[in-house]
Symmetry: C2
């Protein structure tokens, strides 16, 4: 029997899979060849589409009742060598579209590729194209807690309601809950995600038990996601042998510890045969790790990899390690240096089943950071690049902030210059990991337009050098099906207008020129210029009456710029060559310093903050004009969030401008009101 | 049968009632004359003391078995007219000490007066002295929650463990719990407190029910406190008729609302015949109030007073009303003005059973504020002055901060000049109210030395013009019984050394010159100069590169100085006459402004911050030298807190100095390290 396509209550938004996008496929005759559970998923999807739109689907050509329009074929007959499990070929000739794949997952991705193509998949001729994911691992990390955390809540840094997986300490085990998880898997497959880590990297007490006595809850999620080609991973506590196993130590070089992990892992695989592996935040922000036993990160990660290797599992070991109890008086310590200082010397020491998971920037998901120097410094290590879909520092899904361009910039960066590999290429060994922005909110992501970020995670992981504008267009075509509205051109144009530049708009009205932070402590929403200035978190701007910024040069600063190879070490070393948008990340300069743009730093601060608010006002106006072109609930939710975004943008503008005016004493050259 | 004197587990500190202080009384022969429950309490206390120290007590002289040393006598024979219920007379002649009182409570206070006198009560001759409390109402407000508040916890702004009355949503009803409440009543009677409001003025959902279906919990507390002359009060929600009664409105001029309160009050008195009355925080920081119905504070308060008046109850109506959603850009609104602007025009409009409860300063319990101008502006209103024993802004019982001198300064202030009445005198109609600093901590107040503040509440309410140094000496003699130690002089001197100037020390290393706040938002512990600068709370310092402070003059500022009568309006109006310690409260001045002390403002900031830390270091050293003179647990607890105080003081020093150095650019004249 075929699996059922998951169904969604009418109250939940279908995101980029509204029924209408299946019309081209569902109105055709499709032949499916091959066998296996994911082929059954493909079959079920096509059958579901046909039931809506009048087409037919069969596993045997004779059952089609006529000539076929589409062949979806596993294995022989068209799938070339080297396609891998997830690749597919597409061609069209003689009125028949053909998708061939070597692996079942490839057929599933081929199916969703056809959905994206729409009617174009069934027109004219199409020379044979080969599609393969550039990155084998395309992962979402959920920072979901099992038990509601007293400070962080059900989902740490979650702005989309509760967790899809847990509620108030209990697994969401109802039929409706699991149906929604299945639907989530379907959404993720449609954009290319193939791995999900289900729980927070900060592993608290209740969550620790998911590894042992509560592994059944993880198995239930894995079962729901498996039909869509998604493997399930688990964040674990490095102290698990002590906390759960009653051992006296979690020393990775103790045989009893390795044995404990081997046995625990054996049991996990007994429950979840295709289990993906562990995610570990060790020796970071208070989480336990190998340092407590005088061991290094390679010792810790390799021990876990040894437990996973027999089953083909992976340990994702996070490189987010720094001193979070820094003394703000000490200007020699630089948090930006920490990941490189800790990990670059370990290149080559990690076992094959270890992936080192590196945040794309050296700090922490700020609106503007340089690319982490770690990424170019570890050629003999499997690296995953970590990005953050949940908008912790980029508006918390109350502000529109389309992150595709930011991620694309990071993935296109070439650490060793134009001749060398890009970040996207360097991530081939470990893939792309994004902190999820999804929750049980009816729009999945709180802000309906934040769905575009979730969609882009999968698409950029599949093809890191994709044009983010093209990804956005795909998302618009799928999610809004503009062809079904009164004025498709106005809808497309309006959506592009409010989304395209929204990241740069957000950058304009918040922390300037790469300086970062300046947010309210704790929740990180809204401005507080000095909020982290005298804190132990290592996030400073050093603004005084004369200037602002962090000197990270080799010559006079913390030396962070020297962690880059040529040419970037030289580019970042001098304020003369450093890109404007990173100036205050790398240099402490006077307010009168003249940027490449020709403006002084202080005038740039004033100008961008006024511009940013004006851009939000304009976007809000554009959005208001789109009301007749989409469902009322979606339009209203976004409209309501624009009110908050505008309030927030004005607060940022006035707070930042006032702060720097009070400090610098320099009046706005244009005479605008600064409080 | 006599009531039992409450007993305390050995793990709980006896504070200022260690058994030893009853030795002089307990080793004598005492005759008690009179009848009634509080006379029984007195009898029980003396009997308990005698059981420890070999004396005798009787109600009939013939039972004494010899000549008496002490007569405690109710009613006839020595109590003059006008003593009131709580006064007493004391005399000694012919070897007999005599205490006479007109009311039972007077006899109880006379007893504890003898405890304070110790052996001196039984020496030589003593001419007849009359003792009466200057203030009839001497009250503690507990900000205890019934249900643990997600942000504020079990006790709002509580730093002494949990509540004595509730735990995790349930009344503490066990025998041990109620025994501790009885002991608390005994402690309070021994310093002169006669009223306790049991729950937080922010009345959340669970707490609202104390007025109706959970009134039994209040009755149990009242029963425990009653034998020590303490009446129990309750904080209520102004919206109770809606929230609890199901009415559509809480409009104070609606007959049905008044009827609802009358009936609710009748039921409260049925459960607690000597119930003290209601405490109301209305139209303040989000609490409901009469404004919602277009009514004024007098309308609201008088309606509640009408419900209480038949039973002799009082409504304490708080004057802490201001706009807590202020726009920081708007410099014309001044929170300091709010209480006066709201309430001064209502003078004479409040019913006799209303007490208007006014914070001693116009802001919110900062380490330094002027006296609230409301206190001198409402001669036809019963005013209570509210002080804060819980150290919200004064070190949260992790720092030593003896507040007696601060309260004494406020109570001695004469709003209309030297010829006019003092604040203490102006509070005669309503009394003194202190926010309690007591909880279920083994030392009652978290920091053992903070017991002195709790003690001082009662003693300064009894006699507002008392010398705070004398109050501190009393507390030292009772709590540490220095006569029992190896070196009484060193102990007394050491305690005075660490306590005497601790308020000014705290002032030195925190927010300078009366400017206030500069604390971490939310929890209010530790420095954050801009923490409330761009907030809606109305608490700003306006520091820029040229100067700092709030212009509250009439001539150029918010006009707050004009809320004072002569001479203070003129004194505060000009930086030339304004006292140094309030300069930044009233004026925005350049960093180079020269204080009366001869120092510039900026140098004063640097100097005081270095001095403050040095003083903490010295106090810590002195404390270390007292280890042999007291119990180990008490010494260790204080020693441990000194470590945190020193860390905190250094953090304040460096944060404040660095902030102002970065802003002003003025180097320290003495060349000390500023980061």
């Amino acid at each position: 029997m075929l699996p059922s396509v998951p169904s969604l209550p009418g109250s939940v938004d279908p995101a980029w899979l509204p029924p209408e996008v299946f019309r081209p496929l569902g109105s055709r005759r499709t032949l499916i060849r091959g066998a296996g559970p994911l082929v059954d998923t493909v079959h079920a999807e096509v059958a579901d589409a046909c039931s809506r739109f009048g087409g037919r689907v069969a596993r045997d050509a004779r059952e089609l009742g006529g000539p076929g329009d589409l062949v979806l074929e596993l294995g022989e007959g068209g799938a070339p060598d080297g396609l891998g499990d997830e690749g597919f070929v597409l061609a069209r000739a003689d009125g028949v579209t053909r998708v061939g794949a070597a692996g079942q997952a490839g057929l599933l991705y081929g199916l969703f590729h056809l959905v994206r193509l729409g009617e174009a998949a069934f027109r004219g001729e199409r020379a044979r194209e080969t599609h393969r994911p550039a990155l084998g691992s395309r992962m979402l990390d959920h920072w979901d807690n099992v038990a509601v955390h007293p400070v962080m809540g059900q989902v740490e840094r979650g702005y989309s309601g509760g967790s899809l997986f847990w509620r108030d300490g209990l697994a969401r085990g109802s039929r409706d809950d699991l149906e929604r998880v299945r639907w989530y898997g379907r959404l993720l497959a449609a954009c290319g995600v193939n791995a999900v880590a289900v729980n927070n990297v900060n592993v608290h007490e209740a969550e620790a038990h998911l590894l042992t006595d509560r592994v059944g809850e993880v198995a239930a999620i894995a079962e729901a996601l498996r039909p869509y080609g998604i493997r399930t991973h688990l964040s674990v506590s490095f102290a698990a042998p002590v906390v759960l196993g009653g051992l006296a130590t979690a020393d990775p070089l103790e045989g009893a510890v390795a044995d404990w992990w081997a046995e625990a892992t054996r049991r996990v695989y007994a429950a979840i045969p295709d289990f993906g592996g562990y995610v570990v935040k060790a020796d970071s922000e208070g989480q336990p790790g190998p340092f407590a036993y005088g061991r290094g990160h390679a010792d810790g990660a390799n021990m876990l990899a040894a437990a996973l290797a027999p089953y083909g599992g992976t340990v994702h070991w996070r490189a987010f390690v720094y001193n979070h109890r820094q003394d703000w008086r000490d200007r020699t310590t630089d948090r930006a240096r920490a990941a490189f200082d800790h990990f670059a010397p370990l290149d080559g020491e990690f076992a094959p089943h270890v992936v080192l998971q590196v945040k794309h920037g050296p700090m922490d998901f700020q609106v503007r950071e340089p690319v982490s120097p770690v990424i170019g410094a570890m050629p003999n290590t499997r690296l995953a690049v970590e990005i953050q879909a949940t908008q912790e520092y980029t508006g918390q899904q109350r502000h529109v902030c389309w992150l595709g361009p930011m991620w694309s910039e990071a993935l296109s960066f070439r650490p060793t210059g134009e001749e060398g590999p890009s970040v996207g290429e360097l991530a081939r060994g470990g893939g792309l990991v994004a902190v999820s922005n999804a929750g049980d909110d009816p729009f999945w992501t709180g802000h309906p337009l934040a769905q575009a970020n979730l969609y882009a995670v999968g698409r950029l992981a599949w093809q890191p050098d994709a044009d983010p504008g093209a990804v956005l267009d795909e998302w618009i075509e799928l999610s809004f099906v503009p062809g079904r509205t009164a004025d498709p051109a106005r809808l497309r144009e309006g959506l592009r207008a409010v989304l395209d530049g929204s990241w740069r708009t957000y950058e304009k009205y918040t922390a300037p020129l790469g300086v970062g932070f300046m947010v309210q402590p704790g929740h990180h929403y809204g401005p507080s210029v000095d909020g982290y200035e005298y804190s132990p978190w290592g996030t400073y701007h050093f603004a005084d009456r004369d200037g602002v910024g962090v000197d990270r040069s080799r010559a006079t600063g913390t030396g962070f710029a020297g962690q880059y190879p040529t040419p970037w070490a030289e580019v970042y070393e001098s304020p003369e060559t450093c890109p404007d948008e990173l100036l205050l990340f790398f240099h402490h300069v006077p307010y009168g310093h003249v940027l490449h743009s020709g403006d002084t730093v202080i005038q740039h601060i004033y100008d961008t903050h006024f511009e940013g608010v004006a851009e939000v006002e304009e976007a809000r106006r554009v959005w208001a004009g789109l009301a007749d072109l989409m469902g009322a609930a979606r339009h209203a939710r976004v409209a309501e969030r624009y009110e908050e975004q505008l309030r927030g943008a004005r607060e940022w503008r006035d707070h930042i401008n006032t702060y720097f005016f009070r400090k610098s004493g320099v009046p706005d050259a244009r005479g605008r009101r600064i409080h």
